[in-house]
Symmetry: C2
Subunit: 435 residues, 2 copies
């Protein structure tokens, strides 16, 4: 069968990883496909000075991406630039030129994936985006094919490696958020502007894509409740452990009676759940299916090679489909069939909550807080106070029985007015039932 | 697009689960595919008396599987009978009649998968077998598509739910093997003849399939070293925990300098590894890729619904490929390209080992055992003896530094002659490096 030629736009981390794997595994790929994947063109800033892997010496190099998209040999364009600006133009141009597209672009697919798919299908080309979520975990292949026969009830993910690294370092060493973040920045695990990671926006884009695929609705990042990890302290881990829990930035998508509830937020999860064993920069996805019950997927969330594997695997699949003449006929973003998602506020959910206070100690504090909870009909479960050095900024914890988030928020709002608090209470849901 | 009609042979656990899911998810399946999956014919002993799910009342029923295979509407035959006898005939007949095949048959695919695939490809039909290994875990989709671009370095699996249930029950409750087995049989988790499960043969068939897919070699179950779990005692868990390990029936396929080493055997694995958190009847697969590093997959190993999800997902994929005119062109069993596997004996491997003895206590025992190890140049790491009630059947443990299995076996063989042993020593490899 005739070889398939690829054009690669972007030789950053992912592009470089992709090229190395294409070079190292060329024979294996040819054996699996029955034909070869050839790189016909690469585009990158400063491409002339780049050292390409052995075997790619003669590849056409350009700094103008249009020359890749319009290259007569190129049948698949790999968009590995990222962002929602030029990348959108590149993909659009590829579709117009009848080229299939492989992309690692989470922002763009989270924001405009459904529209891009629609245009791709109308043009009869194929689109693949395994690398856009949880780099090393083939969660797209799992949802698209592996368990496509099931009906998904819930997804719980750890989808931001930087946040998970920071949280698990805080947990292990008792170091404060700012110190761990600074260290992560030094090591290159966190950006100079860490907001996308630690405030949950990166994870939110990934959850938008995953939940759109899993539930067949049109979901954009803004539909998802988001709360970052900046307020988590080492104390919180000590208290969580006392309760048999740990804390992770949990991406959750759940079918409830009120509809699909979507959130990215720090939550307490049982230490015994397999999700709690996800350490450092790893990602994981827990899927609850109506028939298949619990399945769990784990791997590196990022990095040139794990993400490169996702891109190369996509290139192989798309190439196979090109040679067998079968582009996708149905978009994985099924909004045309099932409609646009109507956001359901997280305030409808009922959960036990962890409430952490920091106070200037004086008698009567617990009574006053308990009074506010009682007035909202929120049942108190436990009061925990670990030994502390300071009476002026004393942390302690109240856990409450399953309550609606709406009433918990009202209580927290009211508590925030109390003069003995040194900062507003921190309220985190406690997620049991994670296997 | 025209609907695709299915014939189902076998209405046991898996067949029943498959039918329920096809009924319950009919609309969702149609949305994902762009056409409907219809059940045209079912075959089973006593089929006339079976209650089929709503909507399947008018389906053609027969006790003669040939009527399913030869049914003019049937485009895909689901062989859900199992075993290597009639099932082989059914699949052969389906291929001859140009029907695609979905199978849950692990014994047959482990033994003859490569040949069956060859005939399927020559006939231009498609074959799918997700349900044949680790029912609820879509590990075929992962290896075939999700991470197909990577080069697999090693696979570690927990692939037999019954053994894992027995081991984790022993671990939790300190109950002896025979008692847990009897309880498992009572609960229906273990067969009256438990050999296939507890002696490792079921897991071996699954590893034969997975390793053939992952490494592209022709591997049959007999190529794989197998050792069951009958000799494991609650004491072994106590000693393993002291060492920071637990014990699981580990299916391992590893690329080594000597070649691909394959084994199914009880092994010590670190308690901190995510594989150690696999409890009860769950299955799991740990994949080490050269580029993608560690990925991990977890789910139910069996059961009508999880396995039914695998069958239905396969039916959807095969139906999609039929309608888009693209059967697989390349067998996932790549033996024609890479040749038949030459078994590499496990004796080549170098590992730390756990040696557990049961002795009639008397002075000088440790010295005598240590002498045998020293003569074989096996370095002693630790000697452990937990409090015990009996001096006549006293358990204790020696762990040794990384040594070749060949020399450890020679030492164990020599030790077995010693008159103070009440049974031969138990030697288990200690698997570090599992993430």
């Amino acid at each position: 069968m005739k070889d398939v030629s690829i054009g690669i736009i972007g030789l950053g981390n992912v592009g470089t990883g992709t090229l190395s794997i294409l070079a190292a595994n060329a024979e294996q790929i040819a054996q699996k496909l029955g034909f070869r994947l050839k790189v016909a063109a690469v585009c990158s800033r400063g491409v002339a000075a780049k050292t390409l892997p052995e075997g790619f010496a003669g590849v056409f190099r350009t700094t103008n991406w249009r020359e890749v998209v319009e290259h007569p040999d190129v049948e698949i364009v790999a968009e590995l630039v990222g962002g929602t600006g030029a990348a959108a133009e590149m993909i659009e141009a590829a579709i117009v030129h009848g080229k299939s597209v492989v992309t690692a672009n989470k922002e763009l697919m989270a924001r405009s994936g459904a529209e891009i798919w629609d245009r791709a299908i109308k043009s009869g080309i194929n689109l693949a985006m395994e690398a856009s979520v949880a780099g090393g975990i083939p969660i797209h292949a799992v949802l698209r094919e592996g368990i496509s026969g099931d009906r998904i009830v819930a997804i719980y993910g750890i989808l931001n490696g930087t946040s998970n690294y920071i949280l698990t370092e805080m947990e292990k060493h008792g170091t404060a958020f700012d110190a761990v973040l600074a260290e992560a920045q030094l090591l290159g695990y966190a950006e100079a502007d860490p907001s996308a990671d630690v405030d949950g926006y990166d994870a939110r884009s990934k959850l938008a894509i995953l939940s759109a695929l899993a539930f067949g609705e049109r979901i954009t990042p803004e539909d998802i409740f988001v709360e970052g990890i900046r307020r988590i302290t080492p104390d919180d881990f000590d208290y969580a452990h006392q309760l048999g829990y740990t804390i992770r930035l949990v991406c959750a998508a759940r079918q409830t009676e009120a509809g699909l509830v979507l959130s990215v937020r720090p939550a307490l999860i049982p230490q015994t759940t397999i999700l709690a064993s996800v350490q450092g920069a790893y990602n994981a996805v827990w899927v609850k299916g109506q028939f298949g019950a619990d399945t769990f997927y784990y791997g590196r969330g990022a990095g040139p090679n794990p993400t490169g594997v996702a891109v190369v695997s996509d290139l192989m699949r798309v190439a196979r489909e090109i040679r067998s003449g079968s582009p996708e006929r149905v978009s994985p973003f099924a909004h045309e069939r099932l409609g646009v998602y109507e956001p359901v506020p997280v305030t409808v959910q009922t959960r036990p909550y962890y409430l952490r206070f920091r106070v200037k100690d004086r008698p009567g504090i617990i009574a006053e807080l308990a009074g506010i909870l009682a007035a909202k009909k929120i049942g108190l479960e436990a009061v925990l106070q670990l030994p502390s050095e300071s009476k002026d900024d004393l942390p302690f914890v109240i856990t409450v029985e399953p309550s609606s988030e709406a009433s918990v928020r009202e209580a927290v709002e009211q508590m925030s007015q109390l003069d003995f608090l040194t900062q507003p209470p921190l309220a985190l849901p406690m997620e049991g039932g994670l296997g």
